[in-house]
């Protein structure tokens, strides 16, 4: 059963990154009911930013997070203020205009990357990229482990911010009921801008970390975007604990399929897509929503 254990460990490690990547999408959706297709472009730009910092300044990819995160937070706020805020807001749920707008932004970001870095496949090779350690008997790459640790830390910090700070409570309030939050004195517009910044920063951080694990091109990001959708749909799109659970489910599914069947990895994408469609159709409230109803509990954002 060593194989199964290896699958579990690998899934857990992958889930950490998936959760970080998906949280960026989840917070934007939760606060603004907007589906951010530019998420893929940000993932990609985060990877390239890290790459640029590494090749030009020799800055270690994990250390570069200290630069990437604030930079992309600012970029996110800018994006929100200059474009997203101008869209007509509809309380009837996410609008197709926002989807198309952010799709356009994604395309522009892709072209930007092509123009600056060309379409060649890039990767980041550090002295520790090829090293691995033994974790409870399972061989695990050093970058993979580092990514898991960083993801874990960032999600813990996130939880603390959401529970203990005014900002966190304001974000949760706006997510639950925008009008009620405003009546309670929350500046929803400002919170939305901050939330967009946070979402962008998380996406860029995830992209940064992905750059240490995979090679990338400007087209990078699409399959991760779809995985993120899959996860937040499973998670009900508003719950942080759900994002972690959804990430784990997807990671487990991918690793189990990879280990025990001979389906090639290119089909893995088709797998995520199918899971996404199934999840959208079968669980409109997300997995936790479905289980919550079964257990009789109505808590949505706990």
């Amino acid at each position: 059963m060593h194989d199964l254990f290896a699958v579990l460990v690998n899934s857990l490690l992958a889930a950490g990154l998936y959760a970080t990547m998906s949280y960026g999408l989840a917070v934007i959706y939760g606060v603004m009911r907007i589906i951010n297709l530019a998420h893929a472009g940000i993932l990609m730009l985060g990877a390239y930013a890290t790459f640029a910092l590494y090749t030009r300044f020799g800055l270690d990819p994990f250390l570069s997070l200290f630069a990437v995160i604030p930079l992309f937070f600012g970029l996110g706020v800018l994006l929100y203020v200059s474009m997203v805020q101008r869209l007509p807001r509809s309380d009837a749920g996410p609008s197709i205009e926002s989807l198309l707008l952010l799709f356009g932004v994604w395309l522009v970001l892709q072209n930007l990357a092509y123009a600056i870095w060309s379409g060649d496949t890039q990767s980041i090779l550090t002295p520790y990229t090829m090293k691995s350690v033994s974790l409870w008997g399972v061989r695990v790459g050093v970058p993979t482990l580092a990514v898991f640790v960083v993801s874990g830390v960032s999600l813990i910090v996130l939880e603390i911010v959401l529970r203990r700070t005014y900002l966190g409570r304001a974000i949760r309030a706006v997510t639950q009921n925008r009008d009620a939050a405003r009546m309670s004195g929350v500046n929803a517009g400002r919170i939305s801008a901050v939330a967009f910044g946070i979402g962008t920063a998380f996406a860029a951080a995830a992209g940064s970390m992905l750059a240490t694990l995979y090679a990338f091109t400007p087209d990078f990001g699409r399959s991760f975007l779809l995985k993120s959708f899959c996860i937040i749909v499973l998670a009900g799109m508003e719950s942080v604990a759900g994002v972690a659970a959804g990430a784990l489910v997807l990671a487990l599914l991918e690793n189990i399929v990879g280990a025990y069947t001979s389906i090639p990895t290119s089909f893995q994408d088709a797998l995520s897509f199918t899971l996404l469609v199934v999840a959208l159709v079968a669980f409109p409230q997300g997995l936790l929503g479905a289980f919550g109803r079964l257990a009789g509990s109505r808590r949505r954002f706990s």
């Binding site: 198309l100 356009g104 522009v108 090639p264 290119s266 897509f273």
Partner: protein, 294 residues
């Protein structure tokens, strides 16, 4: 006319069919699908597979259309339960899954694709069929718009719950218009296979193609009859111009993205909307009171 410009007209007609057909579901009914290249692929592959088994190429076109319609039901039945952007995301997923599948399975020729059997390649006939299909599609949209069907779709687009409340069976209409739209696109895909003689998953199931199909009617003027045509002309023109200038060749994403951003932020009704504004502006200017003495 020389061959080069006939080619351009073929491409334009192809674009018009795609844009106008998409508009039936995406514009009139308001269900935005970014997965239409799947239908082009289904049409093209149906034709190629049948032709390789001895069926006359042009005879395969109606069969390709039927295959498209059938596939649209398979996609539509589960996904039409989703609303708005969720439906759109599901269509992206489905289309990508189809592409991966076609590239991975061997009877479709895998990732190297299929070649049509050598035979009578008659460009004149290819050209006139495509133009005919384009004219038919635009005429069909104009006709639909004036009928109760068009009004029902418009109701669905504006407020699906209200439409259902007044007795419109939204799911039935969505499924049928999707089937019609898919059949037309699949027919175009079939003609594509006949004209280009070679298809591969990369060429017919391309995500960028799905994107262009969506952009043409949106930029031209969604939910109108002229909009998709204008959009197709614009994109056709832009493609030609951009391919000619090496500096711009790789900038098409800037252009597509920029157009999408500009349309969503400034003129959601696209070119048609701009023209309407211009016309109103001129009318207002013509009616301004004479203030000078006289």
């Amino acid at each position: 006319m020389e061959r080069g410009s006939l080619n351009d007209i073929w491409n334009l007609a192809f674009a018009v069919v795609l844009a106008s057909s998409w508009n039936l579901l995406g514009g009139f009914a308001g269900q935005v699908s970014i997965g239409y290249s799947a239908f082009i692929g289904i049409g093209a592959y149906t034709t190629a597979l049948l032709a390789l088994r001895g069926v006359a190429p042009y005879a395969t076109v109606p069969l390709a259309a039927a295959a498209g319609a059938l596939f649209s039901f398979i996609i539509g039945l589960p996904t039409f339960r989703l609303r708005g952007p969720y439906f759109t995301i599901a269509t992206i997923g489905v289309s990508e899954a189809v592409r991966v599948f076609a590239a991975g399975v061997s009877f479709t020729g895998g990732s190297s694709g299929l070649r049509m059997p050598p035979g009578s390649f008659d460009f004149g006939r290819n050209y006139s069929t495509m133009v005919l299909l384009a004219v038919f599609t635009v005429a069909l949209s104009a006709w639909i718009r004036e009928r109760p069907l068009g009004r029902a779709l418009s109701a669905i687009r504006q407020d699906i719950d209200a439409a259902e409340a007044v007795g419109v069976n939204a799911t039935k209409y969505k499924l049928w218009i999707h089937a019609l739209s898919a059949a037309l696109v699949a027919a175009a895909g079939s003609l594509f296979a006949i004209n280009f003689q070679y298809l591969s998953p990369g060429s017919v199931f391309d995500f960028r193609l799905s994107l262009t199909i969506v952009l043409m009617p949106i930029v031209g003027g969604i939910a109108t009859v002229a909009g998709p045509v204008l959009g197709a002309v614009l994109f056709g023109y832009l493609q030609i111009k951009m391919l000619a200038l090496p500096a711009l060749r790789d900038s098409y994403l800037f252009l597509y993205g920029g157009l999408l951003i500009a349309v969503t932020l400034f003129e959601p009704k696209g070119l048609v909307g701009l023209l309407q504004r211009a016309r109103r502006g001129v009318a207002r200017w013509a009616q301004r009171p004479v203030t000078h003495a006289g």
